[in-house]
């Protein structure tokens, strides 16, 4: 590397590398917790770029957005300002898996967030390429930019996304690049490797953007938004949203599409082996789908607007790394895209990531003090997953500097806890996506109660305002009051009551019951019982929903609470940091290796490491007790 003259760019508490979804949440959290923060990005035009799909939310992901909101993050507020279509998915499948998913106007999303950042008091925004992270004596001290600035900082959050070592593939063509035509971050990769970090390649892909006017919508199925708009942020719950929603469209590939793909597979860098990075199974390229599910004669394709001020349309479902000419041919065999005009080609992108098992559950590096990692560099994928990690990394960087306790959410508290625990405990072989099935305690971790679960935690660390916290407490009280009130309203089997019940297609009463019990009946909702409840107080919809969910699913939720109690027991048995596993007699060799690598905080986390058996856990428990007693003896003497 050519020696560059360096200069002192300034003193900061926290430096954040990258201004994507992870970087932004990290920077905002740190600055809002009162720390002088600088966010460095290769391009100010790339702030929270939605480089792939124009959606926020979805199953599992929507839950993350709500949790970020409850903790005082920005993502939910920002998407509420910029969505152009809104849908609640899974409404027929139970309250725990309702998932909010919206279409974003990409430009608006970017501009709104940029303004928030620019107006944030303790936050400096700077376009600059970081090429080195300065580490002295196992502790981070700052970052160096390509143009010679050294920003001294007590903590650094690395959130480089797909920029780090980015390499784009379109058929036989490949070149170094960040996402969507941005500059890549190449020198930082090199210096990380020189510093002894092991990097590995991951891969993801995106479909083409095509011109709105070149599409025949008449053969497609229209997908409108919901009539009733539910916002993401709990702060917006009782606001009116007047949005002219734009539709999406559903169409299908044809056999001809598949034939073109099959005939050109040898020109796909993935099948010819040029791409070494691992791609996500849940987000396969169209080549993958055609090869793996060869018996299907069609695959879904969604046409989605990228925004209100552009004619670019996103072609969801047809991401590809085939050569550009093949892409065009193949797209033109999709129903309704016969005359489609490409604006941006589909591509696959390969980038550098770390093995997240080198991180603590705070997302701090285990051996480098105050160095944090968040987002795709940790092997995750998705805007929401990135934002969630950014928030936690920003919070913990601040907690460290402020000399406070680490901020950790466990698997029973939040999807964020599941996400981070999975990454740092089990690692990941493919870009990790949040799914509701990854959460053991799904019934209690609902998107509708994220505020009740987490607002207090956000308040305790100073990210949630006094006002907001008070509102949540009031909401909680209203719910509990109403639950108690319903138990006191007794319904007797009078002719009038039974007639009303029959009208609600419900079985008449034989003995008296209270309203609480009546709402348990599958066909009865909270709202319809108003006919028996003349004194009912006015409650807004969120509260009515919480009351109804609580009553209807009480039995299942109780079961889950018992499981959580068991889980917490092991989770609260902490393992001291200076434990030396090789010195513990009775542990299997595999367990010693894995435990030394992962360095779990708690017995609970240790038990989730593959290769650590129940017998090993027993041995660990006994060792900890031995140790505790030795220490006690020491004190007594």
């Amino acid at each position: 590397m050519i020696e560059t003259r360096t200069y002192n760019g300034g003193e900061f508490d926290v430096a954040v590398i990258g201004a994507g979804h992870a970087g932004v949440e990290a920077a905002l959290a740190a600055s809002r917790m009162g720390l002088r923060t600088i966010m460095l990005t290769i391009s100010l035009d790339g702030i929270v770029a939605l480089s792939c799909n124009p959606n926020i939310g979805g199953t599992g992901k929507g839950h993350l957005v709500r949790e970020i909101d409850a903790l005082g993050g920005e993502m939910a507020l920002n998407i509420d300002k910029s969505f152009i279509q809104s849908r609640m998915l899974n409404i027929s499948k139970g309250p725990a898996v309702h998932s909010l998913r919206v279409q974003a106007d990409k430009k608006t999303y970017h501009i709104e967030m940029k303004q928030i950042i620019e107006n944030e008091e303790n936050l400096t925004l700077r376009q600059a390429e970081v090429i080195n992270i300065i580490i002295e004596d196992g502790r981070v001290t700052g970052v160096l930019t390509r143009t010679g600035a050294i920003y001294n900082s007590k903590a650094v959050v690395v959130a480089t996304g797909t920029y780090l070592g980015g390499m784009v593939y379109i058929g036989e063509v490949s070149y170094q690049s960040g996402p969507d035509g941005m500059f890549p971050s190449l020198l930082l990769s090199e210096s990380l490797k020189e510093n002894g970090f092991k990097l590995r390649r991951m891969k993801t892909g995106t479909p083409a953007r095509v011109h709105k006017d070149s599409i025949d919508y008449s053969v497609m199925e229209v997908q409108p938004g919901d009539d009733e708009i539910v916002p993401f942020s709990f702060l917006n719950m009782n606001k009116e949203f007047k949005v002219d929603q734009v539709p999406c469209y559903l169409t299908y590939t044809t056999e001809e599409t598949h034939n073109i793909i099959r005939a050109n597979l040898d020109r796909s860098p993935m099948f010819s082996g040029y791409i070494e990075g691992v791609g996500p199974r849940y987000c396969p390229s169209i080549e993958d789908k055609v090869v793996r599910f060869g018996d299907r004669d069609k695959h879904q394709v969604f046409i989605e607007p990228e925004g209100l001020t552009t004619k670019e349309m996103y072609v969801q479902g047809v991401s590809s790394s085939l050569p550009e000419e093949v892409q065009i041919q193949m797209y033109r065999k999709i129903k309704g895209l016969e005359n489609v005009q490409f604006m941006r080609s589909a591509y696959a992108i390969e980038y550098d990531s770390i093995d997240p098992t080198i991180l603590k559950r705070t997302l701090e590096h285990k051996n480098v003090k105050n160095l944090f990692f968040a987002g795709q560099i940790n092997g995750s994928s998705g805007y929401e997953e990135a934002a969630a990690q950014g928030l936690i990394a920003g919070i913990n960087a601040s907690q460290n500097i402020l000399g406070r306790e680490p901020f950790i959410l466990d698997r029973s508290e939040a999807y964020i806890g599941v996400l981070i625990d999975d990454l740092v405990t089990k690692g990941t072989d493919e870009p990790y996506r949040m799914m509701t099935s990854r959460a053991e305690y799904r019934l209690t971790l609902r998107q509708d109660n994220a505020d009740l679960r987490l607002t207090k935690r956000g308040y305790e660390i100073g990210l949630v305002s006094e006002d907001r916290y008070r509102l949540t407490l009031e909401k909680e009280k209203s719910i509990n009051d109403e639950l108690q009130r319903l138990q006191k309203i007794i319904l007797t089997p009078t002719e009038d009551n039974n007639k009303k019940l029959m009208e609600l297609s419900s079985v008449p009463l034989k003995t008296a019951i209270n309203l609480y019990e009546l709402i348990r009946r599958p066909e009865i909702t909270y709202d319809v019982t108003e006919v028996f409840d003349t004194q009912r107080p006015f409650l807004n919809k969120e509260i009515r929903l919480q009351v109804e969910t609580h009553i209807k699913y009480e039995g299942y939720i109780k079961k889950q609470m018992q499981q959580i109690e068991q889980f917490k027991k092991l989770e609260n048995k902490m393992i001291p940091e200076d434990i030396i596993y090789t010195n513990i007699r009775g542990l299997s060799n595999e367990a010693v290796q894995k435990l030394a690598k992962i360095q779990p905080d708690s017995i609970g986390q240790a038990s989730r490491i593959s290769g650590v058996s129940p017998a090993d856990i027993n041995v660990l428990l006994i060792h900890l007790e031995q140790r505790r007693r030795r220490e006690n003896n020491g004190k007594n003497q």
Binding site: G94, K289, R296, F302, G317, M435, R438, Q560, N618
Partner: protein, 457 residues
């Protein structure tokens, strides 16, 4: 205090007494619920750490005559509430007592768990901790080997196959939940009900074999009937000689009766009433018809012996009266002598009958009898080989839990409970069975989803 655990803490096998031990939160309560002091005396606080005499009862049925020690924390081995029950030795009373305790909510103790608790609760000193680890390691390995041995073959295949149906159900639910907009067939309640019933059916069948497992442990209740000199003891001797069977004296719950075991191809026969096989005593006259009826009621197998060289006597007719309409093996003995009547004579009296001609003195028909017993034991709706018999209490417990969970799923399906709720019990059911085979959980679901469903936009 921790959850209640229980185990047999004496070596399994023949010994004078067998001790069942309980430790944890509910142990005193469970102990009281199954113990009846002599003359209905209640257990009192003053009985702490004393031996109390009485019976272990299952509802009102006496399981065993015992001495029990109720011990309050912290002055116990584990420093938790403990109960120790001193049963009669031999496998049956001890196992029955343990099963009764488990049915009241205690969990079967893990290997070394009592000692582990003793240590964690500060009862043992540091030098003993190493020993605790050794115990846990050793016992874990042993029990692992044991269960592995048992799991080889068709039992583990069957459990795996049931789990595979459950996994399919879970994966289909999960993919419907997590990929609502993908082009996959959404899971239907009809499909879940159908598969759920299949799972329930197969778990029930496995559990039914635990009845056979119980017979393997406790013996097949066998009554041999016949008038004096008909050849009862010759039969016994012949079978014993033939199989070089182990004859054990097991003091039963009523001390004065000695039960005898003989063993045919691994199937233990418990000869129920020794009075009946004593040469000099006439069953019908001596113990009376009522007593005979009582022992026949509990019989898994009846062998009636008649002398074909003599005309049927009043005693024979008595016996025929007692056993007609019951599944019986009839032995027509003494074929070495001239026959006095036709075997078809018996067919009128018995619903199901198996007639075997024997000559004890010449060893004729013994093999046939053994085959017949074997067939009776192994036949049934399910054709199972012996390795599929649930003979392990831990496995049986897990199967029972799995059954409760799948029943609850089916009930929820019936009530149209939403997918995310009914999936809780479904996953539990899958995990219960996984405890038997020792398989892991979450990644399987995702692998299954990605393998079988074309998802991803």
């Amino acid at each position: 205090m921790s959850a209640t655990i229980a185990a047999i803490s004496t070596a399994v096998g023949e010994s004078g007494i067998g001790i069942v031990r309980m430790s944890g939160r509910d142990s005193i309560e469970i102990g009281k619920s199954i113990f009846k002091g002599i003359r209905g005396k209640e257990v009192e606080a003053s009985d702490n750490r004393k031996l109390v005499y009485g019976h272990i009862v299952d509802d009102d049925k006496i399981v065993d005559e015992v001495l029990v020690a109720f011990m309050m924390e912290p002055y116990t081995y584990t420093r938790e509430n403990m109960v120790e029950i001193y049963c009669h030795g031999g496998i049956i009373p001890v196992k029955k007592t343990l099963e009764l305790i488990l049915s009241k909510g205690a969990k079967l103790a893990e290997p070394g768990e009592f000692t582990k608790r003793a240590f964690l609760n500060g009862r043992l000193d540091l030098t003993q901790a190493e020993a605790v680890i050794d115990i846990i390691k050793a016992k874990t390995e042993v029990s692992y080997d044991v269960s592995l041995n048992q799991l080889e073959g068709s039992l583990s295949r069957e459990v795996e196959s049931i789990r595979s149906i459950l996994l399919q159900m879970i994966a289909h639910i999960e993919v419907s939940i997590d990929f609502p907009e993908d082009d996959i067939e959404e899971v239907t309640y009809e499909e879940l009900v159908e598969n759920g019933n299949l799972v329930l059916d197969r778990i029930s069948k496995l559990l039914a074999t635990s009845q056979r497992g119980k017979i393997l442990r406790d013996g097949l209740n066998t009554v041999i009937l016949g008038k004096p000199n008909v050849g009862k003891s010759s039969l016994l001797n012949a079978v014993l000689r033939e199989n070089r069977a182990i004859v054990t004296d097991i003091p039963g719950t009523t001390r004065d009766v000695i039960e005898e075991y003989i063993n045919i191809d691994g199937i233990p026969l418990k000869i129920m009433d020794t009075a009946g096989i004593r040469e000099t005593e006439d069953l019908v006259e001596k113990i009376g018809v009522d007593r005979a009826k009582e022992s026949l009621k509990n019989a898994d197998l009846i062998i009636a012996i008649f002398d074909i060289s003599r005309e049927l006597s009043n005693e024979d007719y008595h016996i025929i009266d007692l056993i007609k309409d019951k599944k019986t093996v009839v032995l027509l003995n003494k074929t070495d002598l001239p026959n006095k009547y036709d075997e078809n004579y018996f067919r009128d009296y018995f619903k199901e009958i198996e007639i075997i001609f024997t000559s004890m003195t010449e060893g004729v028909g013994i093999e046939e009898l053994e085959n017949s017993i074997r067939n009776m034991f192994y036949q049934g709706d399910v054709k199972l080989d012996s390795s599929m018999i649930i003979n392990n209490l831990r496995h049986k417990n897990q199967l029972e839990l799995a059954k409760i969970n799948i029943e609850s799923v089916l009930n929820d399906l019936n009530n149209m409970v939403p997918l995310d709720c009914l999936e809780v019990d479904l996953k539990n059911c899958w995990e219960n069975l996984g405890e038997i085979t020792g398989e892991s959980i979450t990644e399987d679901i995702l692998d299954r989803i990605f393998k079988e469903f074309c998802i991803g936009k």
